[in-house]
């Protein structure tokens, strides 16, 4: 299986007033197509920063990020935005649905930005996606009229509706009760197995991490203990 994502010695320095915060101190990470990677680590170790860099929402201070064979860190802002549009789907802890729009509207705007399908086709496929998610009856609901679990499922649908190469999820179950967490996890797994969706997921919850093929642990802006991960080699081999 091909390598869909790779970082080479990525660092990130935030300038907070006069102090430099070293959020990432040299990250080398690889993910194959179809891989499900969980990232864990204490608060403030740089997990979200890494995810934002992978998705091109910000640039590394040094190092390279390769997405699907393209060195994203060398691209202009506009070109990076295009890579994000075409190849990346984001899911956040805070759902981040557009509050003035319905569930269906949120899916359609993602399609519209991506620029695929005609209006009628978009409508049909948005409705289909929501049906698959068991959210048919929420088609016309706005985010405030939905539960957290429902919102996150819509957000997940929005993230994958354009079939991105990589799904980046930052604590997607962080705001959900265990029942809804289970639902969302099941959907992630399904996406991964049925559609060989590559997933990079940040979590604080070991149970969530257990669903992944591989666990990456971070501490102080570095990846630690990779060799100790028993399942790592097995998974790696299964992809080769």
């Amino acid at each position: 299986m091909k390598i869909i994502l790779e970082t080479k010695a990525v660092t990130k320095v935030y300038r907070a007033g006069k102090v430099d915060v070293l959020a990432l101190r040299g990250i080398d990470l690889r993910a194959h197509q179809g891989e499900f990677v969980a990232i864990m680590g204490p608060s403030g170790c740089g997990k979200s920063t890494l995810l934002h860099i992978l998705g091109g929402l910000t640039t590394p201070t040094s190092g390279e990020v390769w997405i699907d064979g393209v060195n994203v860190s060398a691209l202009s802002d506009a070109a990076r935005t295009r890579v994000r549009r075409d190849k990346i789907g984001f899911v956040f802890q805070r759902f981040n649905l557009l509050p003035t729009m319905t569930a269906q509207g949120n899916l359609e705007i993602a399609r519209h930005i991506h620029g695929n399908g005609s209006g009628a086709m978009q409508l049909q496929s948005s409705q289909e996606v929501l049906r698959v998610l068991g959210l048919e009856h929420k088609l016309r609901s706005k985010p405030l009229e939905m539960s957290g679990g429902e919102q996150q499922r819509v957000a997940l649908a929005r993230a994958v509706i354009n079939r991105p190469s990589i799904l980046l999820a930052d604590e997607p179950t962080g705001n959900l009760d265990s029942e809804n967490s289970q639902l969302v996890l099941k959907m992630l797994q399904e996406l991964n197995t049925k559609f060989t969706q590559t997933i990079i997921l940040i979590t604080h919850n070991p149970e969530v991490a257990a669903v992944a093929h591989r666990l990456v642990e971070m501490r102080d802006g570095r990846i630690v203990d990779r060799a100790q991960d028993v399942s790592y080699t097995a998974v790696e081999e299964s992809f080769l």
Binding site: L57, T58, A78, T81, R82, R85, F92, T100, I109, I113
Partner: protein, 363 residues
């Protein structure tokens, strides 16, 4: 998305739309009223029935007033070949009840110009302190025949009400006005009627050729009217331009402020759009469309306001109207669109250049 957004804050949308509507209304009313006044005044000049205007040297194009000429020129002018009648008119401008003119006329010669007044009520002057008013002036001031009115601080009796369209709206006997103005045997202008209107230009040339009238201004009414544009009225165009500029400034500022608050309030949403891969152009476009939609709603409302205002003006003030031309409707709309797009431009750029991560963590 755009419609959802403008419905999200109905009050803000309402205020922006009304501001644009005021912009459009202001432009159309200012232009419409001044244009109407010009056209109306030209029509009334035409209605006098004269072919030629004879004025003192250096006469102002528009506001003839004062009494700088001797009425004795009447004989000189009427001796010119082709002249049927030369009617002296003494003009006094008053500011009571708005800027208007009072004509002091010699009724027989003035009537000879157009074939005479059409008396709707009453009849010609009988006494020195008689006044003729036109029907619109009468309606405006609720006047009837026999009423006493103040003209130049003297009590006059309304002796007749005439159909409008023949020069001024208020007429008094020439001699009376000469007395009141202390201008015995003086006149402001002669209106001249040619025996054959087709001969007008030839008559003008003949009058110009008279040595003792050499410095005086002779002009055919046709040419005179063609010279009256807004540009000939001192400072009017400047006034119109200033009003239009202020109107556009209102539209621009309100749309600017509205869109600026909108993008601040929606910082997070802009971050979300960016996380979905929306380009800067996409965001600029979305904000500008919203500004444009507000503007278009404002234009429609403004056109409604304008026609309503026109109705109110014409029903309450018979001597005033608003001339709304398609060209100015288009121009006022385009100005509103321009102001709206400019107003939305900086906010849209600001929104587009927001840092997505900061925007996503905005509360």
């Amino acid at each position: 998305m755009i419609v959802a957004n403008i419905l999200h804050r109905p009050m803000r949308t309402f205020v922006s739309v009304v501001a644009v509507a005021i912009q459009v209304t202001l432009v159309l009313l200012v232009v419409g009223i001044t244009t109407w006044m010009r056209v109306d005044s030209a029509k009334r000049q035409e209605g006098i029935g004269a072919d030629i205007m004879f004025r003192p040297p250096n006469a102002q194009l528009l506001w003839l007033t004062g009494a700088p000429m001797s009425v004795k020129f009447k004989e000189v002018l009427e001796r010119v070949e082709g002249v049927k009648v030369a009617a002296p008119v003494l003009i006094q401008t008053t500011t009571s009840g708005g800027l208007s003119q009072i004509f002091g006329i010699d009724l027989p010669s003035y009537s000879a110009l157009s074939g005479g007044f059409n008396y709707l009520r009453g009849g010609p002057f009988e006494e020195a302190l008689d006044v003729l008013v036109d029907d619109l002036h009468a309606r405006n001031n609720k006047l009837r025949v026999g009423d006493q009115i103040d003209v130049l601080n003297h009590k006059f009796r309304v002796c007749g009400i005439v159909e409008h369209g023949k020069g001024a709206r208020v007429f008094v006997p020439l001699a009376t006005l000469q007395d009141l103005m202390g201008a015995v045997d003086k006149t402001s202008v002669f209106y001249i009627k040619a025996k054959d209107p087709n001969e007008t230009d030839a008559v003008v040339q003949r009058i110009k050729a008279i040595p003792e009238l050499r410095d005086y201004s002779v002009i055919s009414i046709k040419e005179y009217l063609s010279q009256i544009t807004n540009a000939t009225i001192p400072a009017l165009n400047t006034f119109i331009d200033v009003m239009i500029f202020i109107a556009c400034l209102i539209g621009f500022l309100v749309i600017y402020l509205s869109m600026y608050t909108t993008i601040t309030e929606r910082t997070r949403e802009i971050g979300i759009l960016k996380s979905l891969g929306a380009s800067k152009l996409f965001i600029v476009d979305a904000i500008l469309r919203e500004a444009l939609l507000l503007t278009i709603l404002g234009i429609l409302l403004g056109l409604g306001f304008t026609f309503l205002a026109k109705r109110v003006i014409t029903t309450t003030l018979p001597t005033l109207s608003v001339l709304i031309t398609t060209a100015w409707v288009v121009r006022a709309s385009l100005l509103a669109v321009l102001a709206g797009v400019l107003g939305g431009f900086y906010p849209s750029l600001r929104a587009a250049s927001q840092d997505p991560i900061a925007a996503l963590s905005y509360e």
